[in-house]
């Protein structure tokens, strides 16, 4: 490999040899395999699934074109409608609550508390653990037989009920609460980094003017870190749309079909029910949901960068 380096050291005056030419191509040769892999992964795979979603595939993929029929079947399916409305409901609560808790924790930690690293570690460790583990443990805690209900009844309150995961109307809240538990530390970390990036002189000036702490946060610090709110919201929405393992481990879509999510629906249709085309259509809808979130966000980022470029350049 050092061969390439040698050729350029000896400034040969004669026509470039094969080594020099190879050296010129090295960067491209290095990146080519990754480029091909990524290109296939992003474009070919998406296109492929898009085609399958308009094909007559059932138990195995096949390539007879049937147009948008699978999408019509998908949207007339009750379970898919539940999955989709669950996604909306979950995303709203999950994103807002995780951001609120995360922001509150970040502001609290930002008050020059002692042992900051310890607090941060406590709030962030759930993120290192898989949704599978989180789901399995919280499944126990929600369980009526041995979890919180059993615990409170042990104090003599014998008709106390706490049955989130076994009630079809409440199970979604169990998923929301667990999701918030897992992700609010992530929001906290981002908010904390944002709070630390605020210009201290700005805050000092406001303090000298006699502004209260609350007012400083509301009027100066939080508006300055507004872009971070958007970033956190986008990342959390992305997590929400991809929600899969958490539901599998926590409720497995139940009771009944009440906590089905789009990702679970895709998996079920493709691998349990042999309706690959409808499953693919559902996967395409997931991609569409992500695009609805990410395309405006990236456009906004580009717009903001341009604006900043103009302001300072």
């Amino acid at each position: 490999m050092t061969l390439f380096a040698k050729t350029t050291t000896a400034m040969e005056p004669e026509a470039p040899g094969w080594r020099t030419r190879l050296a010129a191509w090295t960067p491209f040769l290095v990146i080519a395999p990754s480029l091909v892999a990524s290109f296939v992964y992003v474009f070919v795979f998406c296109g492929w699934t898009l085609y399958i979603s308009m094909s007559n595939s059932s138990l195995l993929p096949s390539y007879g074109f049937v147009g948008i029929q699978p999408y019509i079947d998908l949207w007339s399916n009750l379970r898919w409608k539940i999955a989709y409305s669950n996604l909306f409901f979950f995303s709203g609560f999950y994103v807002v609550l995780a951001m609120l808790v995360g922001l509150a924790l970040a502001i609290a930690i930002d008050q020059r508390v002692r042992g900051e690293a310890i607090w941060r570690t406590i709030f962030l460790y759930p993120l290192a653990v898989s949704f599978v583990v989180t789901g399995a443990v919280w499944r126990w805690i929600y369980s009526p037989d041995v979890g919180i209900e059993h615990f409170v009844r042990g104090f003599g309150w014998s008709d106390f009920t706490f049955r989130l995961t076994t009630d079809r109307n409440l199970a979604i809240y169990a998923i929301i609460a667990t999701g918030v538990w897992q992700s609010s530390g992530f929001a906290m970390a981002l908010f904390l980094a944002g709070l630390r990036s605020v210009d201290p002189d700005l805050v000092k000036a406001a303090q000298i003017d006699g502004a209260s702490r609350f007012r400083i946060y509301r009027k100066i610090i939080l508006p300055t870190i507004a872009p971070i709110f958007v970033a956190v919201a986008v990342v959390l929405l992305q997590f929400a749309i991809k929600t899969f393992d958490l539901v599998v481990a926590l409720t497995n879509g139940g009771p009944g079909i009440s906590t089905t999510f789009p990702a679970n629906y895709v998996y079920d249709l493709m691998f349990q029910r042999g309706q690959i085309n409808i499953g693919a259509a559902a996967a395409v809808m997931m991609l569409a949901a992500l695009a609805v979130v990410l395309v405006p966000y990236s456009l906004w980022l580009v717009w903001r960068r341009r604006k900043e470029g103009r302001a300072y350049g």
């Binding site: 290095v30 492929w48 699934t49 508390v113 406590i122 898989s130 399995a136 126990w140 041995v146």
Partner: protein
């Protein structure tokens, strides 16, 4: 007289200010403590129950002060317990996860570093566009790639193998590691590379002598990120492997959701902890960098 009045007023004001400050401090610590208890509670539950005896758990519930001690659940979860038909515990799944995560993490991090190097220091016409296309992979939901992967793995004879999962995670991880490394290398001054080129150093020499020695901070981030992400991944593991080939996440779901094992809290607790230990260990060792990795992309 006037001075004394002022002084008294000043002291009173200072006292209320001090009291308000103290109350504020107490409020902040109380708030943090309440949330810390909520965050640590599940960890406490699962650790405590993995060391209790099963009859005592079923009698007193999972949320109770441990009144019995037993180390039995750990070896059972590791080597003897029955999960989805086989009675060998989860040690094979643990090894599977290790055999999958370590190579996939190393390969995707190394390729990401090389790609980031090319895309930041050896730009060519269209390289920016290629970079954007590569990073699109970060956002793709795994579900949309399931069918194509099934086809590709089938044709490469990698169905139901750890190698197949390594391939998937390498390709999927590339977009992420490339994005991080490229954004990091951009901040290394181009003049450094230019000077080296004038001195006659080639592509590889610059990579070994200049870029790689500057890389540890970003490589730690990508390694931690990839390791925890791949170890914790469930979808591909459950779709493309079964039985003794499954990674640990799939085995844990099989264990935790099966009706037969529903009441084996002690063993499930130990198994869940075994499955959570490697990423937790990585996180505690490199937590500082983990946070940095998380925040890097979004705060900029």
């Amino acid at each position: 007289m006037v001075d004394a009045a002022y002084e008294a007023e000043y002291l009173a004001a200072a006292r209320t200010e001090a009291r308000r400050y103290a109350l504020g401090r107490i409020g902040v610590y109380a708030f943090l403590t309440v949330f810390a208890i909520i965050y640590l509670f599940p960890l406490f539950v699962v650790v405590a129950n993995s060391f209790r005896q099963l009859p005592e758990i079923t009698r007193n519930g999972l949320i109770a002060f441990p009144r019995s001690f037993s180390f039995e659940a750990w070896p059972r979860a590791w080597a003897h317990f029955c999960v989805s038909g086989a009675c060998a515990g989860i040690h094979r799944n643990f090894y599977n996860s290790l055999m999958m995560t370590v190579p996939a993490t190393l390969i995707s991090s190394l390729l990401g570093a090389l790609n980031g190097y090319v895309l930041s220091k050896w730009r060519f016409r269209g390289s920016e566009l290629l970079f954007v296309c590569m990073t699109l992979g970060v956002f793709m939901p795994g579900q949309i790639a399931l069918m194509p992967w099934a086809f590709v793995l089938g044709h490469l004879h990698l169905s139901n193998t750890i190698q197949g999962l390594i391939l998937i995670h390498c390709v999927q991880g590339l977009s992420f590691t490339t994005l991080f490394c490229r954004n990091y290398y951009i901040s290394i001054p181009d003049d450094l590379v230019k000077a080296a080129r004038i001195d006659g150093a080639g592509f590889w020499r610059i990579f070994y002598k200049i870029i790689l020695p500057l890389s540890p901070p970003i490589l730690i981030v990508t390694v931690i990120w990839q390791f925890t992400g791949i170890w914790n991944e469930y979808l591909f593991g459950v779709v493309f492997t079964d039985g003794s080939q499954q990674p640990i996440t799939a085995a844990l779901v099989a264990l935790a959701t099966s009706q037969m094992n529903a009441r084996a809290y002690d063993v499930t607790g130990a198994a869940v902890l075994i499955g959570a230990l490697p990423p937790l260990l990585i996180y505690f060792l490199g937590g500082k960098y983990f946070v940095r990795g998380l925040t890097q992309g979004a705060v900029k």
